[in-house]
Amino acid sequence: MNKNIDTKKIIISNPLKLDCGKEINNFPIAYETYGELNSEKSNAILVFHALTGDQYVSGKNPITNKDGWWSYVVGENKPIDTNKFFVICANVIGGCMGSYGPSTINETTGKQIGTDFPIITINDMVNAQYELIKYLEIEKLFAVVGGSMGGMQVLQFVANFPDKAKLAIPIACTSSHSAQNIAFNELGRQAIMADSKWENGFYSNYKLNPDKGLAVARMAAHITYLSEKGLQEKFGRKLQDRDSLRYGFEADFQIESYLRYQGSVFVDRFDANSYLYITRAMDYFDLSKQYKGNLSDAFKKTKTKFFVISFTSDWLYPTSENREIVIALNSIGADVGFVEIESDKGHDSFLLDVPSFLKTLGDYINSTYKNFK
């Protein structure tokens, strides 16, 4: 949480007009790169992270000391092979890993910005990251790739910059947040805001942290990333370190203990206000509304090739919503491939070891790269 992270960072001096009407400038974008940019600058892939992700896609995350969040996909000899591709990933604005967000220190007051931070949108996130691409002097990306909120950014990126990527791969996402998506996000936000230590978002002024609220938010969200079948198979009614029920409210069941653990490790790496801002950005995402109710119009100007991927057990961003993107693209004759991957790992499938997903994604990217050459 901006704990003096020694991260690559650029300061964007161009003013950025946000959807909420405010303007920001001289703001930081933290990013990481993997692999090397070739001399023609034709091998760059911009990866967008999801709600709680960060710029550390691969290798060791220096903050958490754990593997990068997409280690199954990005790295040497991985589906997105860093021996071949130059992979860029930036922390979204609103985030807490070095990019401009609510935990950024306001230099005049010396305090965190807190809820004085402006409301941001997926569109704002993408526009900010485009500044990074300009800074890196990459005229055209080979691909933009991302899952979940990362997929939404892929869609927004192509709509905003129709000639800046040859290939777009939105995974397990949607073109507009559904009532169910908003409902779960609202649950998380209410948990944070109900924590007495939240202090209307200025907790850092009091050296407080709404850890309990943030942990509950994470626990609730974590359930939505899994599938009923996956949960039942992994946990069932198994008891945690005990042979019988204790007739109390301790974590009797393994699933309880697992969720509590997920909540507790999350608060060590994530800022509560960032969680509010980023979930809000997701809820506001409605790409077809940006184009007067016609999603196809978002992609009318682009020649970008699309590959849409969904997962059978993902009920958070179900296949039907991914298919809507495919239908919108087909209706304007865009170049789009689509597959629903069989997996019982729920929405999280895109982050996990799902062999048919990893193989199809890797083979597709590599053969498309060859065809473009």
Partner: protein
């Protein structure tokens, strides 16, 4: 297989837009991509086959022709191909109509149930025919609506569908089908290949 691909390829003009419905593992798509046009898409119902196609870098969508052809605008492809799958649909007539909407021209190939080898099996053995081209038993065949070259020919004339070209295939022997030789070709060919338009 190769002969069928060659005939289909000969029907298609260069650098046109093609959709292969029921594209399987993408063999025909690859063949056409190398010989005719880069602008080719596929629609396939089997996840595994879709993944095989995507792995080869082919643009394929997982979907069902009976419900998913609707999403393509009218006449959005120069050619739509349906290779040896018409008989597997619940409602072949509906599929043909959808194909004719999406494609300016449609290429349909039919495993001919009127081929004499097929007829003999039913006549003399009294069992449902199993051939090289139709390898399934009655209890596991995906083929719901088998038809003959003559059936399809008559279907087109009843429905006012224009037949541009029609080719009969026996092993690797290629010949044209017309009104006067229809009965003979229907008896002596294992595959019919039609280029049609609404």
């Amino acid at each position: 297989m190769k002969e069928e691909f060659n005939i289909i390829s000969n029907f298609i003009e260069e650098n046109t837009r093609v959709l292969d419905v029921g594209c399987g593992n993408g063999d025909l798509m690859k063949f056409l991509q190398e010989n005719k046009t880069k602008d080719i898409r596929g629609l396939e119902i089997s996840k595994e086959k879709v993944q095989n196609c995507l792995s080869k870098g082919l643009t394929v969508i997982e979907g069902n022709a009976e419900s998913d052809l609707k999403q393509f605008p009218k006449s959005s492809f120069d050619y739509v191909i349906l290779s040896q799958t018409l008989q597997a649909f619940l409602n072949p007539e509906l599929v043909i109509n959808e194909l004719l909407k999406v494609g300016k021209k449609v290429i349909v190939t039919i495993p001919n149930f009127g081929y004499w080898r097929v007829r003999l099996q039913l006549l003399f053995k009294g069992t449902m025919p199993v051939t090289e081209n139709l390898p399934h038993e009655w209890y596991n065949t995906p083929n719901l609506h088998m038809c003959t070259i003559k059936d399809f020919y008559n279907f087109c004339s009843t429905k006012n569908i224009k037949i541009y070209k029609s080719i009969a295939l026996k092993k690797s022997r290629i010949s044209e089908i017309n009104k006067s030789n229809l009965n003979y070709k229907n008896l002596d060919s294992h595959l019919g290949i039609f280029l049609i338009e609404s």
